[in-house]
Every structure is written in structure tokens, then in C-alpha cells.
Symmetry: C2
């Protein structure tokens, strides 16, 4: 009986240690649960921090907003850049409850974010119906089935805008 | 003199034919020029059509909005999906004055758009300072220099949200 009580105590301690999450990942997870339960979108949350301070949190809102780009990471980047009024987020960290898809990974790179902490994997996401392999394949050029047909058109005319940009004296490079 | 006049006439005719653009690419190009001249962002425009009808047009607004995700294609998708209140855009076409970056290509795939008509190439964009090769490399796993350090954390806890999604009876799959 004494051993049982001891074991039970150890188990409770172990669980408390095992369940102790990184505080920002906990906030991202809370977002994921909250968004899913409100039917805003899939079970995904993200948080952005700067110098260990929370700047933005969000969850997937594809269903709520009818916006296929409304992934948690994209929304968190939008909130954070609006808040701090800059598009160079190189001193920021992003927490995501899931490995970002190519769209979000692209956004993280454009934002110049240097640290990505994520939780569930692409494979975990694919297992619950969110498979982004077709996008990886399209970007890698290894798709067996092409979803997006591409056509090149009017390059000789659109290149004029690029030439004007090159000669633009007051341009903001980014 | 007569030959000169004839040649000049032929040249004018040729120019008029050569300068005749696809009408939607023309609108996308007008957006690109307009956004660049207003210092909203780089020289990029995009248009979304459905059954040959204009639904949305936009231009890059990274500088104006401080949002690194505010590329022309992403903004056009957001406008169009908000307008038609749906996130499945499989009957749509997107026109872009430039080959989309991986972030926008990801968005186009998530939106299920089937036809992409673009004008300038990735190489043209790189030549004026908008090089997305580092993102392609990161997604392909061929980067020589890693910009975004990745860390896996708390998967055993975040997976709980995925399990709840699996069992959620009123979920909207997308």
C-alpha cells in the first residue's frame, strides 16, 4: 500500500513535469484548441515573440474568413508586423503547433524570422487530413499530377514595370 | 520617301499588335505600375477572374502595410475569397505579372486555383533584387546557408489538438 502511494506520487510528479510546456507553445496550443472549437478553422495555433515577449498570437481562420491564406503563422505575422510597423522581423521567433506548410515557410523567410519552434510534424498533419505534400512536390517540380496549369504571357510588356523599378530613385528596397 | 512612309506604317502596325496584351494581364500590369509609383511595394500586380469576369485585382503592398505577406497574389486571393465568401477557388484563374514565389504558389495551391497565367520570370525578378531562390532551396532542403533555425518541441502535448480534430463531429473539412 505504501509502495502504491509512493508510485502514485511519482507518477503525478512525472506527469506534471511531462505536461509542463514551453509557455509560448502553450499559448499557441490554447489558440489551436480555441480556433478549432469555435469552428474558425483547423487545429493550428501560432505565436510570435521578440526578446522573450509575446507580440502576437493567432489561430487558423480559413473557415471563419473564407480566406485560404488565413493560416495561424500568416495571421500572426500580419498582426505582429502591423503592431510594430515593420516588415523586417529578423529579431523575432515564431512558435507554431505544427510544422509550417510551404506557404507559411515562405512567409517566415520573407519576414526574415530566424527561429522557428514547432510541435507536430507534417506527417502528423497529413494523418488528420491536412497534407501539404502536393505543394512541396509542386515547388520541387516533382509532382506526378499537376494541379495548377501554368502559362507564360506578355513578358515583353510586363518587364517594363521591372525596368522602371530598377531606375526608380525613391524606391524602398526590402 | 515612299518606302520610308510604308516602313513607318508597318512599324506602327507591328507595335500596335505587339503591345496588345491580354486584357487581364494589362489590368495586373496597371496595378504593378500604380503600386510601385505610390511606393506601396515592389512592381507586382495580380488579377483573379472567374469565367472570364474580373473578381479581384491587387498589387504588392509590403511597404505600405508593413506586412511581408502582402504580395499581389495573396492580396488578390484574400479580396476574391472575401467577395465570394468561399475558400475553394477551383473554378478561378489567376494572372500575375511575375512568376509567383513559393509563398504565393502555396497560397494558389491551397486555394485550389487551377490556372496560373504569369508574365515575368523568377530570374527577371531576381535581376531587380527580388530573389526567392533561398526560399525554394529551404523548401527543397538544398540550402547552403540556413536562414531559419528549426526546433521541435512539445509534440506529445500539441498532438492532443490533432486528436480532438479527428474526433470532432461538426468539423468543416477543407
Amino acid at each position: 500500500m505504501c509502495i502504491q502511494a509512493l508510485l502514485s506520487g511519482v507518477l503525478i510528479m512525472l506527469r506534471s513535469v511531462l505536461d509542463k510546456m514551453n509557455k509560448y507553445m502553450q499559448i499557441a496550443l490554447d489558440e489551436a484548441f480555441s480556433g478549432m472549437r469555435k469552428n474558425h478553422g483547423g487545429p493550428f495555433g501560432a505565436v510570435i515573440t521578440i526578446k522573450n515577449k509575446l507580440i502576437a498570437k493567432s489561430h487558423n481562420q480559413v473557415i471563419k474568413s473564407n480566406d485560404p491564406t488565413a493560416h495561424a503563422e500568416i495571421l500572426a505575422i500580419r498582426i505582429a508586423s502591423r503592431k510594430l510597423r515593420r516588415f523586417d522581423l529578423s529579431d523575432w521567433e515564431i512558435y507554431s503547433t505544427c510544422e509550417p506548410c510551404p506557404m507559411c515557410l515562405g512567409a517566415i523567410h520573407w519576414a526574415k524570422i530566424k527561429k522557428l519552434i514547432y510541435s507536430c510534424t507534417r506527417k502528423d498533419a497529413a494523418n488528420i487530413g491536412f497534407d501539404d505534400k502536393f505543394i512541396y512536390d509542386a515547388i520541387k517540380g516533382t509532382s506526378k499530377k499537376i494541379q495548377v496549369r501554368k502559362k507564360l504571357l506578355d513578358r515583353n510588356l510586363c518587364i517594363k514595370a521591372f525596368k522602371e523599378w530598377q531606375n526608380k530613385e525613391d524606391k524602398v528596397s526590402y
